[in-house]
């Protein structure tokens, strides 16, 4: 079961809603139900009554499917047990047991209205009901429904997949009870981890209004300009901070068959003068593709396809003019035109395309304030979280320069929106005195307020300087006597310089602070040790240097562990190898729900070298569920490390014993630092550093048992020859090396075993091959 120290709360805080009903168990409904269950909140999932023996078959099948879906809607399969299934005919009255009802049925006004009438008869008045509609205006949804119903009604628009997409748009009607908006917002923010954006009741709300405009424009202009799909995706992707799937790759992902529905609904809802109509007609090619089953990745392929004919796997792309597939060719922008500024200034057809599409898109976005959102902040947030743009339209305009954009628009014959005119040669965002202010439609500047309980290091960076810093890390004062250490290397990897600033920080915190949090605003907490440096040192046979780094890392991590103040690690995203080991050395962990943590050293032919083996053993044997005797903890740790297993969520990290019972999980990424700080403060009073563990390990007999198991796996074709070697070293460490089973093995003994194994392995050719292969391809070499 997922356990939480809820955001902004304390131990034992209860969620805003204690039971939620989700009606409709399609991909979105099941996904929303799963995310609510992920938060530890019981769900009633209803769908139509099925013919046959099981009247709840639709909802039951949806859960079974969700359990098999990758990426997984559930953070822990056990969360599925929190979902009770039912059907609308027999069980609708049970909505009265629920504190919030989410409707996620098919996008048909008549069916939704019919359901609402039935809901009106059974639901507990004063509890919110929301629709996940993405296309139907709220005003139409509640037409003809009584006031007691419209008071309770709002739109909560989730993005697919609901677990992973952080955006939630909330739309209210004129009579929606403001208390509901507060309660739903609070629940979705703290418990479901969503960033809530208020949108107006207009077609497509915010993200889809701008996003589909952008996609339609990009596709249509591409045909007009005679560009290939690779060219389009390269131009419209990375240079603008947009995912490399660009437009066509994204359409393949979303499902090409959805496009005609969306554009039809937008066309019917938007006013005649809306710029959307200029690009609203689907490419004729799309109709043919859908007819032929080319609906994208879920179908036979889309704008891209993988041709498996002849046993191979060849990536192909479609010719936008003829519809024929040919081998996909990589496209690189000419030198000097690879970034946004260069591209927008380029005097070729690629520059012309970028100017047209992004000019149209940014102008469209700027023309929609306040029609779809009262402020620019909501629009940027929606595009950043709903379409994974690094920067929303207004932040992009700031990067280009508003005045420059205005000039570009004039040159392209695109109307310059009033808001862009108004900001003149200023910026849409300004940082002053540590406060960010955003330009408003009133021509004034308004502070961008963080929600209560949200802290980001970014805010401290705006307002001041770190207490300590180097090129590799920094120590920040985050208030109330708590310091925060962040790594600032690429992918937050560890090297000698990170160890140096970390060591200095630990000493400083000991003198000037009460507690320390390890945290980074970056997507990933840490990718572990810097493999590139390790390979470089190994190629020069600088074994002494490598040894020094191992010894140093071990010493610094143990200093951290036994420091006279509490340390809380707050991982989010990946925490691998050395990044996992530092988490293991903290007194407590406050992890983001999406934490992918693991000791992955064996993948590159190494073993954990910075204390990971001992820390994992200590965790396993402390668990009362571990069977007695020396082998069960050893076996479990061995299996986890030898297979380089990485958790697919914080909940799974808890199952893997990387997180302990007292550790917390934060659903909302933006609340992680605040939660970690609170956890650290809760440990300050009466803090004592942990006692040093002593291990009782199995010795030679235990190692033999593990070796035999690995040999079996090698025969089964699961383990490669070098896996057997690496696993043998790992087995030696985890069974206490040469110690007899009656002898105590100290923490220092464990470190020495790790060091010896690590140094032996890094001097072996197959390990170096693995490291080089990983650096070159990003994939493990199975040698």
């Amino acid at each position: 079961m997922t356990q939480h120290i809820p955001s902004g709360g304390t131990d034992g805080a209860r969620p805003t809603f204690s039971r939620v009903c989700v009606i409709g168990s399609g991909v979105m409904g099941a996904g929303i139900a799963a995310q609510i269950a992920n938060a530890g909140v019981p769900v009633l999932l209803l769908d139509r009554k099925a013919d046959g023996a099981d009247p709840n078959a639709l909802a039951n099948d949806a859960i079974a499917r969700a359990l098999k879906t990758d990426p997984a809607p559930f953070m822990d399969p056990a969360a599925a047990k929190l979902i009770t299934t039912g059907n609308i005919d027999d069980d609708l009255a049970r909505v009265a047991e629920c504190d919030w009802v989410v409707e996620v049925i098919i996008e048909r006004l008549d069916l939704k209205q019919a359901l609402y009438r039935r809901l009106d008869a059974v639901h507990r008045p004063g509890t919110p009901i929301s629709s996940n509609t993405s296309t139907i205006p709220l005003a139409r949804l509640v037409e003809g429904l009584p006031a007691r119903f419209t008071r309770d009604f709002l739109i909560t628009h989730f993005f697919n997949p609901p677990r992973y997409m952080r955006l939630l748009e909330i739309v209210t009607g004129p009579t929606t009870d403001p208390a509901h908006v507060g309660a739903v917002t609070d629940f979705c923010d703290r418990w479901l981890g969503k960033s809530v954006v208020r949108a107006k009741d207009t077609a497509g709300f915010i993200a889809n209004r701008i996003g589909t405009f952008w996609m339609q424009a990009a596709a249509r202009v591409a045909v007009d300009h005679g560009l290939t799909v690779e060219q389009v995706d390269t131009i419209i992707g990375r240079p603008f901070g947009i995912p490399k799937t660009g437009v066509f790759g994204l359409l393949d992902l979303v499902g090409i068959d959805l496009m005609p529905h969306i554009s039809a609904s937008m066309k019917s809802l938007l006013a005649a003068g809306d710029r959307y109509h200029a690009f609203a007609d689907d490419l004729p090619l799309i109709g043919k593709m859908i007819e032929g089953g080319y609906t994208g990745r879920k179908g036979k392929g889309g704008f891209y396809r993988i041709n498996k004919a002849g046993g191979g796997k060849v990536k192909e792309s479609i010719d936008l003019a003829t519809g024929a597939y040919a081998v996909s060719e990589r496209f690189a922008l000419p030198p000097g035109a690879g970034d946004m500024a260069g591209l927008l200034a380029a005097n070729d057809r690629f520059g012309a395309y970028a100017r047209k599409v992004m000019g149209e898109t940014l102008a469209y976005a700027a023309s929609l304030v306040p029609e779809i959102s009262d402020d620019i902040v909501g629009i940027d947030k929606a595009m950043e979280l709903g379409f994974n743009w690094k920067k929303g339209p207004f932040a992009l305009i700031d990067q280009i320069g508003a005045a420059k954009l205005a000039a570009l628009l004039r040159q392209e014959g695109i109307a310059v929106p009033a808001l862009v005119e108004a900001v003149g040669d200023g910026r849409f965002y300004q940082d002053r005195d540590g406060v960010t202010r955003a330009f408003g439609v009133d021509g004034g500047w308004h502070p961008v307020a963080r929600a209560e309980g949200v802290i980001l290091l970014e805010d401290f960076r705006k307002g001041g300087k770190p207490v300590l810093s180097s090129r590799s890390g920094a120590l920040w004062d985050i208030g109330d006597g708590v310091a925060c250490f962040e790594i600032t290397t690429k992918m937050n990897t560890f090297d000698e310089s990170v160890m140096a600033i970390l060591e200095k920080s630990i000493a400083h915190v000991g003198e000037h602070f009460k507690a320390l949090v390890l945290y980074s605003d970056a997507t990933h907490f840490s990718a572990g040790a810097n493999l590139g440096l390790a390979a470089f040192a190994a190629n020069m046979a600088a074994w002494g240097e490598i040894r020094k780094l191992i010894v140093r890392g071990q010493a610094v991590y143990k200093t951290l562990k036994y420091a006279p103040f509490p340390v809380v690690a707050a991982p989010a995203g990946m925490a691998l190898g050395g990044g996992c080991e530092i988490v293991l050395h903290a007194d407590a962990v406050q992890a983001h729900a999406e934490s992918y943590i693991g000791l992955v050293e064996c993948g590159v032919g190494l073993v954990p070298g910075w204390g990971g083996c001992g820390e994992m053993l200590d965790r396993l044997r402390a668990d009362p569920h571990t069977a007695g005797g020396p082998m069960p903890p050893t076996r479990e740790v061995f299996e986890m490390i030898a297979t380089a297993r990485v958790s697919k969520s914080a909940a799974e990290a808890r199952r893997m014993h990387i997180l302990r019972d007292r550790d917390g999980i934060t659903m909302n990424r933006d609340r992680l630092l605040a939660d970690a700080k609170m956890l650290a403060l809760s440990l300050v009073e009466g803090y004592r550093s942990p006692p040093k563990p002593e291990f009782h390990l199995a010795g030679a007999g235990g190692k033999l048992a593990l070796d035999m198991a690995v040999e079996g796996m090698a025969r089964q074709g699961i383990a490669t020859p070098h896996d057997v070697t690496v696993a043998g070293k790992l087995a030696f460490i985890l069974t206490g090396g040469a110690h007899d089973s009656t002898e105590n093995v100290t923490e220092e003994d464990m470190l020495e075993l790790e060091r010896a194994a690590f140094l032996e392995l890094i001097q072996s050719i197959p390990t170096l091959d693995r490291i080089e292969h990983m650096l070159e391809t990003g994939k493990p070499l199975r040698n």
Partner: protein
């Protein structure tokens, strides 16, 4: 000397380990319900039972604490009844029968419960703390050899190909399917109360198994050269079995049913690397001690640890197909290590009456390189 008879047979349903219906049920709780049912069904006077001899291959964890005594107490046998745990791996509960038979012969008790149990879900094969002796491993690696590899060794030595193994597995599934369909297994099964409800049917058989499906499976133990698959091996299983063993005179006196008389028993050893051949020598010894030939035997219960070793034993012993595992074998039914011996002795005794044969042979192979065999005679 006292003649020894089998006077009752009962077992739990057998369930797949880790995914069957006994996953959440303790092995001692399963065994106790089987023992209690055996006592009730046979009508034996509990206070006259000398001992509960319980076979178990990995007697630790929930199978620890002298499981024999624990099960005696759990099943509310009188306190005067003893309890002992016996381990000869897969041969454990056939060994229970042999020990009871020996004791009865020498007048050291008249009536025994011989049972066996294994939860391969809750106590892993190899135990929680496998600590093999490195010196022995060096000298004799086969001592700890994976059972699947011994099955591969037998297949190679006897040139038993995949197709032949798969045909044997299909036969096992078919015999089991027919037995289940005809209700021939119902009488021996004791419904078991679990936390999640009552379980009263076997969970291992795959009645839909077909040749194509079997042919599509990957080798389970040796990816490069193997012929043994999950489909031609007995599955990891949870379950318990028991037989009532007493002197013939006692049975006559108390009016207990005499299913079969124990004619002879035998133990033998063989190379651990081909442990599956164990039944060959032990069966020959037992048949010789009974003064009969394999041609005289109308019912053979040969434990199907693997198809390959079963085929090798059938070939070497000259077992006729129509006498072999008439109601199916372990490939379909499952093989809860400690429980299997009691099942096949009980089954052989039951079949003697049903099939009208004179002699039955129950035999099995044992990890580490042994065989065990029992010859029964219809009364």
């Amino acid at each position: 000397m006292n003649s020894v008879v089998i006077a009752g047979y009962a077992r739990s349903p057998f369930q797949l380990a880790r995914k069957g219906q006994f996953v959440r049920t303790r092995p001692d709780d399963i065994a106790a319900q089987v023992v209690r049912a055996l006592v009730e069904r046979t009508g034996v006077a509990p206070e006259e039972i000398e001992d509960l001899i319980l076979g178990c291959a990995f007697p630790e964890g929930e199978q620890g604490f002298n499981l024999g005594r624990i099960v005696a107490l759990l099943s509310d046998l009188p306190l005067s009844v003893g309890g002992v745990t016996v381990n000869r791996f897969c041969g454990s509960s056939m060994q229970s029968v042999h020990m009871a038979a020996g004791a009865i012969r020498m007048g050291a008790g008249e009536v025994f419960i011989c049972a066996g149990v294994e939860s391969m879900t809750r106590i892993p094969m190899g135990g929680f703390n496998p600590l093999p002796n490195p010196a022995l491993y060096k000298k004799r690696p086969g001592a700890y050899m994976d059972m699947g590899i011994t099955a591969e060794n037998v297949a190679r030595t006897y040139e038993i190909g995949r197709a032949e193994q798969e045909a044997f597995a299909l036969r096992s599934q078919a015999r089991t399917r027919d037995a289940v369909a005809a209700g021939r297994l119902e009488a021996e099964i004791v419904p078991i109360q679990t936390r999640d409800g009552v379980v009263s049917v076997d969970g291992c058989p795959r009645p839909d198994t077909n040749a194509e499906g079997l042919a599509g499976l990957k080798p389970a133990f040796d990816a490069a050269h193997g012929t043994v698959t999950a489909g031609t091996s007995s599955p990891l299983t949870d379950g318990a079995a028991s037989v009532l063993v007493c002197s013939e005179a006692y049975a006559d006196r108390k009016g207990l049913p005499k299913l079969a008389r124990i004619r002879s028993i035998a133990i033998s050893g063989c190379a651990p690397e081909v442990m599956g051949l164990g039944p060959i020598l032990s069966s020959r010894k037992a048949l010789e001690r009974a003064g009969i030939a394999i041609g005289d035997v109308g019912v053979v219960e040969l434990n199907e640890a693997f198809a390959s070793q079963s085929i090798a034993c059938v070939r070497e012993l000259g077992v006729r197909d129509e006498t072999l595992n008439i109601d199916g074998g372990a490939i379909a039914l499952g093989h809860p290590l400690g429980a299997t011996g009691a099942r096949i002795v009980g089954k052989a005794a039951q079949l003697l009456g049903r099939e009208g044969a004179r002699y039955a042979l129950a035999t099995q192979c044992i990890g580490g390189g042994q065989g065990i065999a029992t010859v029964l005679e219809r009364i």
